[in-house]
């Protein structure tokens, strides 16, 4: 099943590639594909979770833990390199990809609440999962075009982790793995919200909000936390049906796993029309 098979490292260029290592490479690559497929499936499940009125907490926790496991393993054996390759080999050029993400990441107003970020950002993820996304996004680290948009989100993420001051193995690992490139990102980016962000896309934070227990947040954040959930309800009411998640990373997921698509993937609507819809809804809610 998904038990870890024997994996061999790719031979470096210049050495003779034996049959054995070729086979090993194939096994490893098939395992990675399976793992990627599982990751995609899990992320979709989490996102769909949020479309429900009151998701099953146990199920969400189990799926989130699975995603974290996969992400940890991918970080451990550095297979996000392979993710990079897949990314680059996608039909669309990286810059186009990133523009799409940038449009989604950036809010209409420059000083929009961070809540808005979580509405349109990778909603289905907890902090660890954002790292998974970052892992995928970190492709852009090496690209010159990249840095603008994703920096905004990543910056918030790291800010968040610094603010919470939680020492966790994963974070330490991420720090070492993804290198100090992230810090540079934070320095260079601008336009990120200066307000201390509530964590981007909290699976369980949303539960928190839904259940109405007031946190230590500012009243403004609470206002927007309500907006958060009512956005979904409003959206459901407006569209009259459970719509597909309007998430940017969906495109990323699709591009990263081009060869196999999980049957449960819902077709992704156009991001730009969703943004217009989002703006429209925000206008109604905020009453501007």
């Amino acid at each position: 099943m998904f038990s870890k098979g024997t994996k061999r490292k790719f031979s470096d260029g210049g050495e003779e590639i034996s049959d054995e290592s070729l086979l090993g490479a194939r096994v490893a690559s098939s395992y990675s594909l399976q793992r990627q497929s599982l990751l995609d499936m899990s992320l979709i499940k989490l996102q769909l979770c949020h479309m429900l009125v009151e998701p099953n907490l146990c199920r969400s926790v189990l799926i989130a833990n699975t995603v974290r496991q996969i992400q940890e393993e991918m970080t451990h054996d550095g297979s996000w390199h392979m993710v990079t390759e897949a990314f680059c080999s996608a039909g669309q050029s990286p810059s186009e990809r990133l523009v799409a993400t940038e449009v989604l990441c950036r809010s209409r107003e420059q000083d929009a609440e961070p809540k808005l970020f979580s509405v349109i950002s990778y909603e289905g993820c907890r902090e660890e999962e954002v790292v998974a996304d970052e892992t995928l996004c970190s492709v852009s680290v090496s690209d010159t075009v990249s840095n603008v948009c994703l920096a905004g989100r990543m910056g918030q993420c790291w800010e968040k982790s610094e603010l919470s001051g939680v020492e966790r193995d994963e974070e330490a690992l991420e720090d070492s793995r993804l290198g100090s490139g992230e810090d540079e990102e934070i320095d260079t980016e601008d336009g990120a919200s200066t307000e201390s962000p509530k964590t981007i896309g909290q699976v369980f934070g949303t539960f928190e909000i839904k259940n109405g227990s007031p946190g230590p947040d500012s009243a403004l954040e609470e206002l927007f936390s309500d907006v958060d959930t009512s956005y979904y309800d409003l959206d459901t009411m407006l569209t009259g049906m459970q719509s597909a998640p309007k998430m940017g990373p969906y495109d990323l997921l699709d591009s990263l796993a081009p060869s196999h698509s999980s049957p449960s993937i819902v077709s992704t609507p156009n991001c730009r029309s969703d943004l217009n819809e989002l703006d429209h809804i925000m206008e109604i809610i905020v009453g501007s």
């Binding site: 099943m1 998904f2 038990s3 870890k4 399976q34 793992r35 599982l38 499936m41 009125v53 009151e54 099953n56 907490l57 146990c58 199920r59 926790v61 189990l62 989130a64 833990n65 699975t66 496991q69 996969i70 907890r126 902090e127 919470s164 939680v166 964590t199 909290q202 699976v203 369980f204 934070g205 539960f207 928190e208 839904k210 259940n211 109405g212 227990s213 959930t229 009512s230 309800d233 999980s262 049957p263 449960s264």
Partner: protein, 444 residues
């Protein structure tokens, strides 16, 4: 009874004759016998409770014991809308638990996601006639017509079974209630949701004590939830709760007001060779039940049932594979969400056998003494009244024998999540979606 059960399973002698098969309009979500076994309660997705009562044994029908007939039906919970959170609260009954009978009336607790209700079910077979102020049909009499005074007399009437809500225990659960359990002191009971367990007094509805709280300060750090909880059958200070990580904690309420620190921690070490991405999900415990003796407890995870000795925390004393053939299908079952199905399990009255459900309307029974097991099917096609149930077998590979079913032709929409065993006799109730089957064994 013990000897009888041994014979039953040992000879792989299946249960005989279907006593009852009832099709409901809604999916059955819980099944529970009362303490004497005379009554059987079922709850469904529509918030209704239907109670069946066993017929008295008739001398004429030597081969049969009493059949179960509908005794009372009532709407326990209605769908609610939480306006503050813009959420609908399902009326589905998650659990029913009977209180021990103390007088002529019967009491049960029924719980949906948020609210627990105490219902009194009482019989009325007499009514008062000859009122002074009103007619027989209830209309008020003209005052000047009343010339004499009379005492109303009690006259027999057709039996009427009434269910009335006596207590409503609400607003104590932020998350979905998954378990309720009556304490052996018969005064208190616990209710558990995903993150908290509350202790109630049956007489007091406006407050409860929170005895377990595993909610992290930061919800993002949440990695584990409570999946089931039960009071110890004899020690009123002890209870257990299971988690989504496959652990069970035994807590002593005498130790502290908040039982966040367990007295005992039960966990089986993971087998590293079978580790996969699904290991945690399939280790999540869906049900925990104490044995009647109170010495053991049983847990159900996705693929197996484990019996634990309360004195040994590091591993279970018995493990039974329910449907090991599904281990190679975990990815598909994850995809279609079946991997999250919560199966229940139950003990027989003497704790010598255990039962749990599976897919394709199969359910499994294990004899703890002989280690024999049997797979039976709850379906109308295969169970004619008074006919023996045929044992079923799933073919896991290679050549499929006649009457075997291959894993790929199993129907994963037909799942038996809820089963119950009569506390004293070999009578079982099996809920298959919206059908209830009651099986009992033949007396020889």
């Amino acid at each position: 009874m013990t000897g009888h059960v041994l014979v039953l399973i040992c000879e792989v002698h299946p249960l005989m004759f279907v006593s009852h098969h009832i099709t409901r309009s809604d999916i059955i979500s819980t099944v529970e016998f009362n303490c004497s076994g005379e009554l059987l309660a079922t709850g469904d997705k529509g918030g209704r409770v239907v109670i069946f009562q066993r017929e008295q044994e008739s001398k004429n029908r030597l081969l049969s014991r009493g059949e179960y007939n509908v005794y009372s039906t009532f709407q326990s919970h209605e769908p609610e809308f939480d306006y503050l959170k813009s959420l609908e609260i399902e009326e589905k009954i998650n659990k029913i638990r009977w209180l021990p009978q103390q007088n002529a009336a019967h009491f049960l607790l029924s719980a949906n996601d948020k609210t627990i209700k105490l219902w009194k079910i009482s019989e009325r077979d007499k009514r008062a006639e000859g009122y002074n102020l009103k007619d027989e049909d209830g209309r008020l009499r003209d005052q000047f017509r009343i010339t004499t005074l009379r005492v109303p007399v009690l006259m027999p009437m057709d039996l009427m079974v009434e269910a009335s809500p006596r207590r409503i225990f609400a607003n104590a659960h932020t998350y979905h209630i998954n378990s309720i359990s009556v304490n052996s002191d018969y005064e208190t009971y616990l209710s558990a949701d995903d993150l908290r367990i509350n202790l109630w007094h049956l007489e007091i509805t406006d407050r409860s004590f929170n005895i377990v709280d595993i909610k992290p300060a930061n919800m993002e750090e949440l990695t584990e939830v409570i999946t089931a909880a039960e009071c110890h059958p004899h020690q009123c200070n002890a209870f257990v709760y299971s988690s989504s990580k496959g652990t069970i904690r035994l807590c002593d309420m005498r130790a502290a007001a908040l039982c966040d620190r367990h007295s005992k921690f039960f966990e089986e070490p993971e087998d590293p060779s079978s580790r996969s991405f699904f290991s945690e999900i399939i280790s999540s415990i869906s049900d925990v039940k104490f044995s009647h003796s109170g010495r053991y407890m049983m847990t159900r995870d996705y693929l197996s049932v484990k019996v634990w000795d309360l004195n040994m925390e590091n591993r279970p004393v018995e493990t039974y594979q329910v449907h090991e053939y599904l281990r190679s299908k975990l990815c598909s079952l994850y995809e279609n969400d079946c991997i999250f199905d919560k199966f229940e399990c139950c003990w027989n009255g003497s704790d010598s056998a255990i039962m749990t459900g599976s897919y394709n309307n199969f359910f499994r029974m294990f004899d703890r003494n002989t280690r024999r097991d049997i797979t039976l099917e709850a379906s109308r096609e295969n169970s004619k009244p008074r006919a023996m149930l045929k044992p079923r077998k799933v073919c896991t590979g290679g050549k499929r024998k006649k009457d075997e079913i291959s894993v790929d032709s199993l129907d994963f929409n037909k799942k038996i999540l809820h089963t119950a065993w009569h506390p004293k006799e070999n009578v079982i109730a099996v809920a298959a979606t919206n059908n209830l089957y009651i099986f009992q064994d033949k007396i020889n």
